[in-house]
Symmetry: C2
Subunit: 313 residues, 2 copies
DNA sequence: GTTAGTTGTCGAAACGTTTCGACAACTTTC
DNA sequence: GAAAGTTGTCGAAACGTTTCGACAACTAAC
């Protein structure tokens, strides 16, 4: 209700003066500024975003796109994004689904963070061509106005493999993820490299980064008695699945077989026994992404970043 | 770039005609409409939201406010909200934090869903007084422009208690939640009523609806040998905590003690043994809330709703 | 062939801001 | 005390839409 106009009227000044005062311009005298500010306060003035956005051509809102809200993975990540965005004076909104992608060209938001494989490369490139700032978290994409935040998959994978080897296993099964998934590709590559470097027998079982495919992988694993095995699930969802399979089939975890995962999913810690998993700060992951997006929006120079992983025995 | 103005120019008609055509008004002839539409298509026209919102005084966006993004609880809920909102032709955004609450008075959004205890009653009532449509999911609040979606806590609590009684326990410990939490109050009340109706011994241990307080509750529980006990955690987070405590202290679950929880948290299913928990459709919970908010926005009559709970042995 | 109605188009105002350029009223400088 | 600079204020345009009211050009009715 109460707009800049009403304030101007009440203060006996022009609209423009009110606007200057509200925006802290030095053009306006201290006396009028204080008067206007107190009237605004008193009238409970809150700027109308549509009006502001229209004029400013800028909203200070960014959005993150997720495939779905499912899974505990996103908690810390969003927390990190949110905090960083707020530190930078921006608001973060979380979106999902095809239609809301229009927010970008509709100019409701200044830039986007993408962790949603359904948001296709070609669609992203199309927006990038119109110079909309974009940060992707689940792939690499080369474009002037796109940056990526990546994980140090190589280090994590190598450590997980080493940890299995340290248990003295005779063979390692690597449960891989989708063919076209960036993380899956990198993790698999490093895992294979580690196995070959250490000259340990290994086998790759294809999975889909979800629990059910981890469970199904159990059927493909051959356990000979008197031998011990390692299973490296390239993500924890699949680790959950294989854990369930093994438990159901009375194969004793941490004796007959050792499991390692990736992502440090909350649930893995509650299993008996828990699954050891490659970790990284999801909070930093999110915060870093927002930091990069901010620079992109402000047209400052910025590079891709890599988040480091760690593995504790 | 391409706005309604450019389209008008290219089509050789006025701005208003373009607007009518784009909005499917019957005022404009079929011939010009098709022409305008094809030009708009060709120019990749996407309306500028700020302009539209400014004029329409409506955005078709609603927001849900969460205390934090942590926890798997929100997954299904958001999924339900999102789908329903989309079915109704609205976009849903997820927000967190104090500053973004201004979205409502800033007119960026048409209404809000609140599941965030930090969003105080008084603040909500203040907005409600300005006729902003609000749906609360974590409390009851009486106001012309506020509605609540509630859980059938009574039924759920009663069933959980009955289930413990059926196990033949001698005494039931009820781990309650925060004093001012609506669900906690209702669940406790029903649990106590059930215990008294069945004339079974019980005790209340205060908790905080989080894992650590559930764990700490373990210390307050007295287990005499030769007796069996029931523990009813008024939410699953606390159930997780007490489960951990009991396991660590070698008290055998499902023999010495039986646990029941509330909310059917994803993690509870992965525990050994799992915790039986009162369930309800979080998807429906979310979808219902959005449905109500929609009616509130459209100024249609609508009442509070209750989501039913169920408990399977 | 006047009158009355219908159809399709348009101009202009409105929504709530920001910001440029103008300018009156001062102050400083010489 | 005239010229030059500074300060504080204002009017008006602009951002991209929607929508009212006007109206010209038709058609239908008598």
């Amino acid at each position: 209700m109460a707009g800049i106009k009403e304030i101007a009227e009440k203060a006996g000044v022009s609209i423009s003066t009110v606007s200057y005062a509200l925006n802290g311009s030095s053009r306006v005298s201290v006396k009028t500024r204080d008067k206007i500010l107190s009237i605004a306060e008193e009238m409970n003035y809150i700027p109308n975003l549509a009006g502001q956005n229209l004029r400013r051509q800028r909203t200070n809102i960014i959005a993150v796109y997720l495939t779905s809200y499912q899974g505990s993975f996103f908690g810390d990540l969003l927390q990190g994004m949110h905090q960083k965005a707020n530190d930078l004076g921006m608001e973060l909104i979380v979106c999902s689904g095809k239609r809301s992608r229009l927010f970008l060209p509709q100019r409701l938001i200044d830039g986007i963070l993408v962790l949603d494989k359904n948001f296709s490369d070609s669609e992203l490139l199309k927006y990038a061509d119109q110079s909309y700032p974009i940060v992707v978290l689940d792939r690499t994409l080369k474009h002037e106005s796109i940056r990526s935040v990546l994980l140090d998959n190589e280090k994590g994978s190598t450590q997980a493999m080493q940890s299995l080897i340290n248990e003295g296993v005779d063979k390692i099964y690597i449960i891989s993820g989708p063919e076209n998934n960036h993380d899956s590709i990198e993790r698999k590559k490093a895992a294979v490299a580690a196995a070959e470097a250490q000259e340990i027998e290994y086998d790759i079982i294809p999975g889909q980064f979800n629990e059910i495919s981890g469970y199904q992988a159990g059927d493909k694993v051959v356990f000979e008695p008197e031998k011990t095995y390692g299973v490296f699930a390239l993500n924890d969802e699949m680790g959950l699945g294989i854990h369930k399979y093994l438990t159901e089939h009375n194969i004793v975890i941490n004796k007959d077989v050792f499991i390692r995962g990736f992502d440090r999913n909350q649930v893995t810690g509650y299993l008996t026994p828990p699954i050891k998993s490659v970790a990284y700060s999801k909070f930093d992951f999110g915060a870093t992404a927002v930091g990069i997006l901010n620079k992109l929006i402000k047209e400052e120079a910025v590079d891709n970043k890599t988040i480091s992983t760690y593995f504790e025995e």
